[in-house]
């Protein structure tokens, strides 16, 4: 089969690989119909995540058709059109039994601090991902779900991470009616978090980024006020002024490891890999939220420490909430919202690439060329 393959920092290509096989009785093999590149894939692409091996196939956002099932699979059949949450999880460990699917203890030998994720290095279990023609899906009875007939592949693939994570983030922020919510980052997750904040009854939503085309999307798609941090000497002061000096009730950090806005932080983290991630956005969140407020962290960071302003967080009495989203837990309610016409996931899609053009797709996404927000990948066997 054809599959995206990592060749080292900033280098990917498509290679021939063996079609995945059933390795466990509850495995399935899924023929990928649609995959996506996530902003967090760029952390792998840039060589920031430890134990990212040459030959690894990225891709934790994908939907497809069930091609094969293992002997114990009961809930899926060959031919089913399924969406697969980005989390690999067993459904029965201590954490899964409490709904913490992204923290599953039974799927990642390489680390206990994080569960399993498709195509996200060996630090999350060493599973090849979905930017390929086929992918192995462990615990097929647990994670994947049949896609309702009325939901398109393009919409469904956004359910597997970006939409579910943005919606999750707004819930972590504990938004109550009338809250002022600041969302840092106008990528797909930030845009969905902003939309979700309205669902929870926010009174104001302000999205912060430095890319004007993304802020335009935040105004149109997410009905948000916007702040371009590049236009302000000090964006925290700008946000304080915008909130009458109070600060935002809730801040959602949807940026993560490669945050810009401070050259030293960005270069030491994203270029020199001396930190687990550049905590610029996280520090802005801590500074821009009001005392007693909540910071919801969706951005992905590596396991090495980052220079976070923890003293301010303590002194301000903040609640910091964070996790990888348990994507499938969000699906029933999200499907209701989509059916009601409140959300159209594929509205954030800007680009579509053939799998064979994967290097171009990564470069366009990484360098933010051509107004790129969300690129989809279409395998040739789709």
């Amino acid at each position: 089969m054809r599959a995206m393959v990592y060749r080292g920092p900033y280098k990917v290509r498509v290679e021939e690989k063996d079609v995945p096989r059933i390795e466990h009785p509850n495995d399935a093999v899924v023929r990928v119909v649609r995959a996506a590149i996530c902003g967090s894939d760029l952390h792998l692409y840039h060589g920031m995540m430890p134990d990212t091996r040459v030959g690894h196939t990225f891709g934790h956002e994908f939907v497809g058709i069930v091609e094969k099932v293992g002997s114990s699979v009961q809930n899926l059949q060959v031919g089913d059109r399924v969406m697969v949450p980005f989390n690999v999880y067993c459904g029965t460990c201590f954490f899964c039994a409490r709904g913490l699917y992204s923290n599953c203890h039974n799927v990642n030998p390489n680390a206990t601090a994080i569960g399993g994720i498709y195509g996200y290095s060996h630090s999350t279990g060493g599973y090849d991902g979905g930017q390929a023609e086929y992918v192995r899906v462990p615990f097929a009875d647990v994670g994947p779900s049949r896609i309702p007939e009325w939901l398109s592949d393009d919409d469904a693939v956004l359910m597997t991470d970006a939409l579910a994570t943005g919606y999750f983030g707004a819930q972590l922020a504990d938004v109550v009616e009338g809250d002022t919510v600041v969302v840092l980052g106008a990528g797909p997750v930030g845009l969905f978090a902003a939309r979700s904040a309205w669902l929870m009854g926010a009174g104001r939503v302000i999205v912060v980024d430095q890319l004007e085309y993304r802020l335009e999307k935040a105004r149109e798609f997410a009905y948000a006020e916007t702040v371009n941090f590049a236009e302000h000497d000090d964006v925290v002061v700008a946000l304080k002024k915008a909130t009458d000096g109070l600060g935002a009730d809730r801040v959602i950090e949807a940026v993560g490891a490669e945050a810009d806005g401070n050259l030293i932080q960005h270069v030491t983290a994203a270029k020199l890999k001396l930190q687990g991630g550049s905590p610029v956005a996280l520090n802005w969140a801590i500074d821009a939220v009001r005392k007693g407020g909540t910071v919801s962290v969706l951005g992905a960071y590596g396991p090495i420490f980052s220079a976070v302003k923890f003293g301010d967080a303590m002194n301000k009495g903040l609640t910091l909430r964070m996790n990888q989203a348990p994507a499938a837990r969000q699906w029933p309610r999200l499907l209701e919202h989509i059916q009601a016409g409140y959300l159209k996931p594929s509205d954030v899609v800007t680009h579509r690439f053939e799998l064979e053009d994967i290097a171009e797709a990564y470069h366009v996404m990484s360098s933010k060329l051509d107004g790129c927000i969300k690129p989809l990948i279409v395998p040739s066997a789709a």
Partner: protein, 185 residues
């Protein structure tokens, strides 16, 4: 105005927001939010086992020393091999996830892995090609100038080619100097 108890007024009323924004307030009640409460034991996962069957371990699978046993299911992509494999195995066997050395060794393993793979590729029919694999050939078709105009992040994008090409240039310089030193002997 945090000097008084009054909360700053909002620019729009709930009715105005409801009229303007699709679905405004649909999840006002925390009870309809999937994450409330955070930990729930009543969710149906589809699992029909108490303990999952164990996947066969077909090669010595590395694991964090914080795991008492190999978990029942694991990825089998890219087994450890070569010098990078030895570095990574040492990181897993010697240091817990709480130790900086664990992660720094894994990152060192990544760099060695990339160098090993690039060198290996030179003796194959498909050597690494920085032009095609970095995707830079897409630039002319993707509005390279207009896309970057006025963007402050462009200042550190110029570092990207240095990161990709730098180790090779450095390697070449070291090689040339080594050859010169040999010739002088």
């Amino acid at each position: 105005m945090p000097y008084t108890a009054r909360k700053p007024p909002l620019p729009e009323t709930p009715d105005e927001l409801r009229a303007r924004i699709p679905g405004w307030g649909a999840d006002l009640d925390p009870a309809v939010r999937p994450q409330v409460p955070r930990e729930r034991t009543d969710l149906e996962t589809g699992a029909h086992w108490d303990v999952p069957d164990r996947q066969e371990e077909t090669y010595p699978r590395e694991r964090s020393i914080e795991h008492e046993q190999l978990p029942p299911v694991f990825g089998t992509a890219q087994p450890l091999h070569g010098l990078s494999g030895a570095i990574r195995r040492f990181a897993y066997e010697r240091y817990s996830e709480g130790r900086l050395a664990h992660w720094l060794l894994l990152i060192a393993g990544d760099r060695v892995d990339a160098a090993e793979a690039h060198l290996r590729s030179l003796v194959t029919l498909r050597p690494d090609n920085p032009l095609t694999e970095t995707g830079v050939l897409a630039e002319p078709r993707r509005h390279p100038v207009a896309s970057r105009r006025g963007r402050p992040d462009v200042r550190h994008q110029v570092l990207d080619p240095v990161i990709v090409a730098g180790p090779w240039v450095l390697g070449a310089v070291v090689l040339v100097e080594a050859l010169r030193a040999l010739r002088r002997r």
